[in-house]
C-alpha cells in the first residue's frame, strides 16, 4: 500500500515538478548511482524542512490502509514479544516448565485458554499471510487496486479461520 502510494506520488509529483531538472541530471546516467540519487533526495527533503508526512488525519480510511498499519503494528508487537521472551530466558530464574506449571495452577477455564491462544496466534497468522501478500507485491504481482482489495479480504478471512482453528487445538 505504501509502496503503491509512494510510486504513484513519485511518478506524478516528482515528474511534474522536477522533470526538467531530472532530465539534465540524468543526462549522464553512468555517473550517477542510486546511492547518489538517494543522497540528493534526502538532502533536498531535509533542507526544505517540511513537516513529517503523511498527515494521518486527512486521509479517508480504506481497507488496504488499515491492513498496512496492522502489518506494522503486529510486526512490532511480535518483535516485542520475542525480545521479551529471549530476555526472560536470560534473566528470570526457573525454567519454562515451571512457568507453565504456574499457569496450570491458576486453573483458568478452557474458554479463557482458547481465547488467549487466539490472541497469541492471530497476529502471527495475520502478519504471515499479509507478509506473503507483501512478497507477491515485491515480485510485482497483484498490484492493481481491485487485486489489492481482493487479496486483502482473502488474507483477513484466512487469518481469522486459521487462527480460530489453531486456537481450538
Amino acid at each position: 500500500m505504501a509502496a503503491l502510494l509512494l510510486r504513484h506520488i513519485g511518478r506524478h509529483c516528482l515528474r511534474a515538478h522536477l522533470s526538467s531538472q531530472l532530465c539534465i541530471r540524468n543526462a549522464a546516467p553512468l555517473g550517477t548511482t542510486a546511492k547518489e540519487e538517494m543522497a540528493r533526495f534526502w538532502n533536498k527533503n531535509t533542507s526544505s524542512n517540511r513537516p513529517v508526512s503523511p498527515h494521518l488525519t486527512i486521509y479517508r480510511w480504506s481497507l488496504p490502509m488499515a491492513m498496512s498499519v496492522c502489518h506494522r503494528g503486529s510486526g512490532i508487537a511480535m518483535s516485542g514479544g520475542v525480545s521479551l521472551f529471549g530476555l526472560s530466558a536470560l534473566l528470570l530464574p526457573g525454567n519454562f516448565e515451571s512457568y507453565l506449571m504456574l499457569v496450570k495452577s491458576l486453573c483458568l477455564g478452557p474458554a479463557l485458554i482458547h481465547a488467549a491462544k487466539f490472541v497469541l496466534v492471530f497476529p502471527l497468522m495475520y502478519h504471515s499471510l499479509n507478509g506473503v501478500r507483501h512478497l507477491m507485491w515485491d515480485l510485482g504481482k497483484g498490484l492493481s487496486i481491485s487485486q489489492v482489495q481482493l487479496s486483502g479480504v482473502t488474507v483477513l478471512v484466512l487469518a481469522v479461520l486459521s487462527s480460530a482453528g489453531l486456537a481450538a487445538i
Binding site: 510510486r7 540524468n26 540519487e37 512490532i76 520475542v82 529471549g86 536470560l90 504471515s128
Partner: protein, 159 residues
C-alpha cells in the same frame, strides 16, 4: 494445519523466486519512485537509462539488503511449518536466527521512518542492535538450556 502445510508448499516455490528477484527489475519502492526505467509518453528524458541493479555499480549494497530482507522473510515463513512437522534443534536455532534478523531489520525500518535527526537515529539503532543481540543470545540460551522454541510452543499449546 492444512493452512500451515499450504504455507510450506508456497514457501518452497517462493524461495526460489525470491532468490531470482535481483535479476528482475524489482527494486525498493523508494528508489523506483524517482528513478524510472519505463518509457514515459511525452517525456523521453530517462528512457535510455536502464536502472535494474545489475547495471548500477555502487547501488548494490542497498538492493542486496532489500533482497536479503525478502529472503529472510521467506525462510521464516518456511521455518514455522517446519517447526511443527519436524521439531528439532536445527529448526530451533534457525528460528532463533531468522526471528531475530527479521525483527531487527523490520524494527530498523520503523526507526528509519519515525526517528528523525542523525544523532538520535544513530543512538536508537545502537539500542536496537543491543536488544536484538540480547534477544538472539536469549533464544539460543533457551534452545540450549531449556526445552527449545519448538517444544516450548508445543507444550504451551497442550495447556
Amino acid at each position: 494445519m492444512a493452512v500451515l502445510l499450504k504455507l510450506g508448499v508456497l514457501c518452497s516455490g517462493q524461495g526460489a523466486r525470491a532468490l531470482s528477484l535481483r535479476s528482475r527489475a524489482v527494486r525498493p519502492a523508494f528508489v523506483s519512485a524517482f528513478l524510472q526505467d519505463q518509457p514515459t509518453p511525452g517525456w523521453r528524458g530517462t528512457q535510455h537509462i536502464h536502472l535494474s541493479p545489475s547495471h548500477q555499480s555502487g547501488s548494490k549494497a542497498a538492493s542486496l539488503h532489500w533482497t536479503s530482507e525478502r529472503v529472510v522473510s521467506v525462510l521464516l515463513l518456511g521455518l514455522i511449518p517446519a517447526g511443527y512437522l519436524n521439531p528439532c534443534s536445527v529448526v530451533d536455532y534457525s528460528l532463533a536466527a531468522a526471528l531475530t534478523l527479521h525483527s531487527h531489520w523490520g524494527i530498523g525500518q520503523v526507526v528509519t521512518d519515525y526517528v528523525h535527526g542523525d544523532a538520535l537515529q544513530k543512538a536508537t539503532k545502537a539500542g536496537l542492535l543491543a536488544v536484538s543481540a540480547l534477544t538472539f543470545a536469549g533464544l539460543c540460551y533457551f534452545n540450549y538450556h531449556d526445552v527449545g522454541i519448538c517444544r516450548a510452543v508445543a507444550m504451551l499449546w497442550k495447556l
